[in-house]
């Protein structure tokens, strides 16, 4: 009880002094006000409690009022900005309160003043507010006159340069932001700062370029042509990656070059990418670096080499990268492990140790997801690299447990990694089967956000390939319903993956599986997919149909139950505006139908269909001619029932003449096909 009382008294005392500071802001004598603000400034430095008190007691609106009053002396206004900047240095709550008091427009207004000291104080405060994660970035862009004005302040002093570039670096989060800054000459204005004598200015300018160039081709293309002191920007960045430069600078310069490269502004075989950027990023992944740097390094490297097999090959042999990444997993993976260690260590160790553990735990997820991303990127094209990855200690186990981690970022990265590795026939046959990766994958598919679903279903497509030993157990786990539901998704990527997986599943499948697919999907859904706006979906649906309609008994059975609709769909596509590939695929389906015993008649009895085939036999595209000829060839094949009648009927329709003409075709396979068909008549 006594304790509490003392606490109360102390906090009372605190509030009392705080109130005294606030009261002095309302003194009628401006000189006293100024002294009050200066005293307040000295009182709040490094004192979060005092800062919170002053905010609660309403100091902020008064300070803002004084700052904005043109009647206030410049000195007073400057001191107000300094105190506000100090308040912003406190907790996130402080920042929120300041933003709620509309401090940002007030400070931006202050920048119009001509006094440099005052401008610098305002900018310093704005900087502190804008770099906080709780501040809405958009507030910088609300007034369109702000950016050009700030841009013009870049030349005023080293301090304005530092604060402004830091604000830009934090407030450029979307392509729109990039374009606003770009259009107001950010590149020309900031480029000279890269050789500023101040390290802070150089560093913040560099950060600006990294956020400006990220996935922005226009900015990147402009950057390559910029000269700083007669030197190309890429050379300036390359120099900033030298190994004696601070790590932060090396890493950020590597990011800039990575983004420029990915935007197509620098070739991937350029020496500054191959011999400088890539090794620099690999170094960032080493054990000697801080956890944050390792995460950023790995993510940037993954991004850099994603589309380029040569970079992937080089990275895979650089500084043991593949095994270096395995170290990313050697941090406590679960909270319980941490608390265990903490409980044990409390007896013996200091608080520093626990803080270290908290720090590690915070970064453990980030490290794992970064490693998965980098593995995914490394293994996306080269079979040898995939083998090297899967042979890394416990790699498959790590992926499997990554798939069911609580952090969605880790799950997504793990499934991306799995997807990348699933492109390997050998891995599908061996490690994927040994580790039963399909199980966690199926679980992941049950209930996951779309981005995870896309990756997981795409991986599933590969696992359902005919030679994959996982195909059987997956089928047995009732995946068909799940895939069918994917085809109804709003996301085209998910629809493609769903139907693609079904297509793979139907390839050379049992009758039972095929029937199950048709039943589960339903003809209605099938036809809806055939009119899908996404060509990929259409192609895979046709592929599914083609796989369903293979081997004679299957063809006849499916055509007997769904013949009418299928013929309708085929007609529709052949008559519609579609690409050559789509039409070819459709003609192949028709050819498969023509291979059935009873199914043939569906074509023969159709008034239109033979005419359509005839049309495509005379098409200018060889592929379509070939597919159509194949179809006719199936229809007139000798040894089958009723072949004579069909031959006669088609002869009447003028097919023999066309076939005869095609035997003269310049394309050898078309020519062969036509000759084989002609032989049916001759026999």
């Amino acid at each position: 009880m006594a304790c509490i009382e003392i606490l109360f008294r102390i906090s009372d005392k605190f509030t009392a002094t705080s109130r005294h500071y606030v009261d002095r802001l309302f003194d009628p004598d401006p000189q006293n006000v100024l002294q009050g603000v200066i005293d307040m400034k000295n009182a709040v430095i490094g004192n979060n409690k005092q800062k919170a008190n002053l905010i609660v007691l309403g100091a902020v609106p008064r300070l803002l009022y004084l700052l904005q009053q043109s009647s206030s002396s410049l000195e007073l206004r400057t001191e107000c900005a300094v105190v506000l900047g100090s308040l912003a240095m406190g907790t996130e709550n402080n920042i929120k309160s300041l933003v709620d008091c509309h401090i940002i427009p007030a400070l931006l207004q202050g920048l119009l003043c001509s006094d440099l000291i005052f401008i610098e104080a305002c900018l310093r405060c704005l900087r502190t507010i804008f770099i906080s994660p709780v501040t809405p970035v958009q507030l910088l862009y609300t007034d369109p006159t702000v950016i050009p004005h700030i841009m013009s302040l870049l030349s005023r002093s080293q301090h304005t340069q530092e604060y402004i570039t830091q604000i830009f670096a934090h407030c450029c989060k979307t392509p729109e932001h990039q374009m606003v800054l770009f259009n107001h000459g950010a590149i020309q204005n900031i480029a000279p700062l890269l050789i500023s004598p101040s390290y802070k200015v150089r560093m913040q300018a560099l950060k600006c370029f990294s956020v400006l160039a990220y996935e922005n081709a226009q900015v990147s293309m402009t950057l390559v042509n910029v000269l700083v002191d007669g030197e190309q920007l890429s050379q300036v960045f390359a120099r900033m990656m030298q190994r004696d430069k601070p790590i932060e600078m090396q890493l950020t310069a590597a990011k800039c070059l990575t983004y420029m490269c990915r935007a197509g502004a620098i070739r991937t075989d350029d020496n500054c990418i191959i011999l400088k950027t890539l090794p620099c990023l690999v170094r960032m992944c080493s054990k000697e670096r801080l956890l944050e740097e390792r995460v950023e390094g790995a993510e940037t490297l993954a991004f850099l080499m994603e589309p380029d097999i040569e970079l992937q090959r080089i990275a895979s042999v650089t500084d043991h990268l593949v095994s270096m990444l395995a170290d990313y997993f050697k941090y406590p993976s679960s909270v319980s492990a941490i608390t265990d260690i903490k409980r044990l260590s409390k007896l013996r160790h200091t608080r520093d140790f626990c803080n270290q553990l908290d720090h590690d735990l915070k970064h453990a997820h980030e490290l794992r997801q970064a490693a998965f991303k980098l593995y995914a990127s490394l293994g996306s094209n080269d079979e040898d690299i995939r083998k090297k990855i899967t042979e890394t200690e416990n790699m498959m186990d790590r992926i499997v447990s990554g798939l069911s981690e609580s952090s969605i970022k880790v799950r997504l990265a793990a499934v991306r990694c799995l997807h990348s590795l699933s492109r390997s026939v050998q891995q599908l046959r061996t490690s994927f089967h040994d580790h039963a990766v399909w199980k966690p994958l199926m679980k992941l598919l049950q209930n996951a956000p779309d981005e995870v679903l896309v990756m997981a279903s795409s991986t599933l497509c590969n696992l359902l390939l005919e030679f994959s030993p996982s195909k059987e157990p997956i089928l047995e786990s009732g995946v068909i319903e799940l895939l069918c539901s994917l085809t109804q998704s709003d996301s085209p990527a998910l629809r493609v993956n769903g139907i693609w997986a079904l297509m793979n599943m139907a390839f050379q499948a049992d009758q039972k599986v095929k029937v199950e697919i048709v039943r589960a999907l339903g003809t209605e859904q099938l036809f809806r997919l055939l009119s899908d706006p996404d060509t990929n979906v259409l192609m895979k649906t046709l592929g599914l149909l083609r796989n369903l309609l293979s081997t004679r008994p299957h063809i006849d059975q499916i055509m007997s139950s769904h013949g009418k609709q299928i013929m309708q769909a085929v007609t529709l596509i052949l008559e519609g505006e579609h690409s050559i590939e789509v039409k070819e695929q459709t003609l192949c389906i028709l050819a498969n139908i023509a291979d059935g015993n009873t199914a043939k008649e569906l074509i023969m009895t159709n008034d239109d269909m033979p005419q359509k085939i005839k049309y495509y036999m005379g098409h200018s595209n060889v592929k379509l001619q070939l597919a159509a000829t194949f179809c006719i060839s199936n229809l007139i094949w000798n040894e089958e029932d009723g072949s004579q009648e069909r031959q006669d009927k088609l002869r009447e329709m003028g097919f023999v003449d066309i076939l005869h003409k095609l035997t003269q075709a310049s394309d050898p396979s078309l020519c062969d096909r036509a000759k084989t068909a002609m032989q049916q008549y001759l026999a």
Binding site: Q242, R243, D244, P279, V317, T318, H320, M324
Partner: protein, 632 residues
């Protein structure tokens, strides 16, 4: 125990180095920031300080002279490299005659020397030569060498691993490289491409591939494995074949090794490497051919960038070396070092100002400092005759006791006569008036320095007199150390600055003895005296090769019509006065039982000595801790 003692030694040495360096930084800080000194000086009048600070700018030059005789490390480091380039370029010349005047070869040699010097500046090649080619003596018979011993080809049967053959480079890798690197280009992988690139110690069997035996390490092309003193390899990197460039980097600081392939680092291959390894390659099947690059050409891998990283690391380690509890002592010690340095080199005004502002006592009496300063100025301006005379007046027994020193001074005087700068010939040349006989003016009494320091008022006057004293010549001086009094001094005809001005002109004219016939005769006469002094010395004290050479070099000047551009012309350079000046100064100080080296110079020398000791004991970090880096 070995490792411990070595690292312990390192730390101790770093500390010594750091201490020395901090002192130097303090001095150069003073030198670069005259404001501080000016503040002190504002108490006095400004002009003496100006002349002192003008001397200050000389300080590195003056510093470089003790290096020659006493601080071996610095001296050898600087000079031997020059000496090296002499014989080696001579060699190159001979070779070019043999190889039908192949200019390209000479060029390559030059490029190689330049690159090696740039990469490994800390290596003393007289002690530890760098590998420049494969050794025709240290190889198995199945190895053939060509192209200046840089190309290696296999000439055995290549049937079994018993036919493997290796060759080592001519020299082991010196520890003072810090980081060492060489590259091997695969010209042809031959039949099977069983090639190994790596390192081995002297005496390891050459009928093997590198890596198979103890103290042997290799990276093999056929399987990409690394072999660490073992017949079975570990998976390490990619395979390599025709057209690939494989690099091998030895880090002598942490004793590790990594390889590169086509400019990409493959990661650490070996740790805990022993010292004194030789670059080694091994081949095993017919047709295998590889070319080495020990620095003849630019490397594919950016080794200099890697070195930059390690230089930064080592320097950060030095910067962060803890001073511990002795922080107070530390500052006092640095101040003492700086003060003693200033006193040693007779920067009286600055020394006094510094001592006052840092609350220190000056251990030598002011008059004595000034005497030395006077003599040094004379030597440095080339007025040797006056310098000798003044020395004899002020320190009567010094040169008598030290005949070698006197001889050295006289030889220098002869050189200055040739130069036309010595007072005797200048009088004869008639261009400059000056001779030491014309001192009008009356003797003056000087306050003792102790007394001056007692009050700021007297201090001021004291320094004011210092100013005048600079421009005065003392006459009939007694041994100043006895009582700190100068019996008298008189105004000199010209001041020393004017001398310096004249010297500039002389260099432009460059006429023997300033062009005067009388002066030439005097010079020749002086030469004869010198010759007889030399003979006298030899009779009395036996042969002295240093003296003999000194005299021979000096006399050689007369053999050329234009001595300045002759091979011995360097003697005429004013920078050559500095070692003479320093030796004389040290000798004077010794007679007063004062150290002949200032502690600062001593610790710089000690630091440099430590570095060479580190190089000898295999601590590679010495490569990146050059004392020179801290001197400016």
């Amino acid at each position: 125990v070995h490792i411990f003692s070595q690292s312990h030694l390192c730390l101790v040495m770093y500390q010594v180095l750091k201490e020395a360096v901090c002192g130097l930084i303090a001095v150069s800080w003073l030198a670069s920031r005259p404001i501080r000194i000016k503040q002190a000086r504002n108490l006095s009048s400004s002009s003496p300080v100006v002349s002192d600070s003008a001397r200050f700018s000389h300080w590195t030059l003056i510093e470089s002279c003790p290096a020659k005789d006493s601080w071996q490390a610095v001296g050898i480091g600087g000079r031997n490299r020059i000496a090296m380039s002499g014989p080696s370029s001579g060699c190159g010349f001979l070779m070019s005659v043999v190889v039908h005047g192949d200019l390209a070869l000479n060029e390559q040699e030059k490029e190689l020397n330049q690159r090696l010097k740039r990469l490994y500046p800390a290596v003393n090649e007289q002690e530890t030569p760098l590998p420049r080619s494969w050794s025709p003596k240290d190889k198995f018979s199945y190895i053939g060498l060509s192209q200046n011993n840089l190309r290696v080809h296999y000439k055995g049967h290549g049937k079994t691993p018993k036919d493997a053959a290796s060759v080592r480079a001519t020299h082991p890798i010196p520890a003072a490289c810090g980081v060492y690197y060489f590259e091997v280009k695969i010209i042809s992988k031959g039949r099977d491409g069983y090639m190994g690139i790596g390192l081995s110690a002297q005496g390891v069997n050459m009928n093997r591939l590198p890596g198979w035996d103890k103290h042997s390490y290799g990276y093999h092309g056929d399987d990409g494995h690394s072999f660490c003193s073992s017949g079975t390899g570990q998976p390490y990197g990619p395979t390599f074949t025709t057209g690939d460039v494989i690099g091998c980097c030895v880090n002598l600081i942490n004793n590790t090794c990594f390889y590169t392939k086509n400019g990409h680092s493959l990661g650490i291959a070996f740790t805990d490497l022993p010292p004194n390894l030789y670059p080694t390659v091994g081949l095993q099947t017919p047709g295998e051919v590889v070319d080495a690059n020990f620095g003849q050409h630019p490397f594919v891998f950016d080794i200099e960038d890697y070195m930059r990283e390690w230089r930064t690391k080592i320097q950060a380690q030095i910067d962060r070396f803890p001073i511990g509890e002795r922080e107070g002592e530390w500052q006092a010690m640095i101040q003492k070092m700086v003060a003693s340095y200033l006193v040693h080199h007779s920067y009286c005004a600055t020394a006094e100002a510094f001592a006052k502002s840092t609350d220190q006592a000056v251990h030598e009496e002011l008059a004595s400092i000034k005497n030395r300063q006077k003599i040094q100025k004379l030597v440095l301006s080339g007025r040797m005759g006056e310098a000798i005379e003044t020395t004899q007046q002020l320190y009567p027994s010094l040169l008598e006791r030290n005949q070698d020193l006197l001889f050295m001074l006289k030889v220098r005087q002869f050189i200055e006569m040739v130069n036309g700068t010595d007072s005797e010939v200048r009088c004869l040349g008639g261009r400059s008036p000056k001779s030491q006989d014309c001192y009008p003016g009356s003797p003056r009494l000087f306050n003792s320095p102790v007394h001056k320091a007692s009050s700021s008022q007297t201090y001021q006057t004291g320094t004011a007199e210092v100013e005048m004293e600079l421009d005065h010549f003392s006459n009939g001086v007694s041994e100043s150390s006895s009582n700190g009094f100068l019996n008298g001094s008189s105004t000199h005809g010209i001041d020393l600055e004017e001398c310096d001005g004249d010297m500039g002109e002389i260099i432009i004219w460059r006429q023997l003895c300033g062009g005067s016939q009388a002066a030439i005769e005097r010079m020749i006469q002086f030469g004869r005296e010198l010759q007889s002094m030399s003979e006298h010395l030899r009779r009395e004290r036996g042969k002295n090769s240093a003296n003999k050479k000194m005299l021979k070099d000096a006399f050689s000047l007369l053999a050329y019509s234009d001595p300045w551009s002759s091979p011995v012309g360097y003697q005429l350079d004013s920078i050559q006065r500095e070692p003479v000046c320093s030796t004389l100064n040290s000798a004077i100080l010794e007679t007063h039982n004062l150290p002949k080296q200032p502690p600062l110079a001593l610790s710089v020398g000690q630091a440099a000595q430590c570095l060479s000791l580190m190089a000898r004991t295999g601590s590679g970090s010495c490569a990146f801790a050059s004392v020179d880096d801290y001197l400016h």
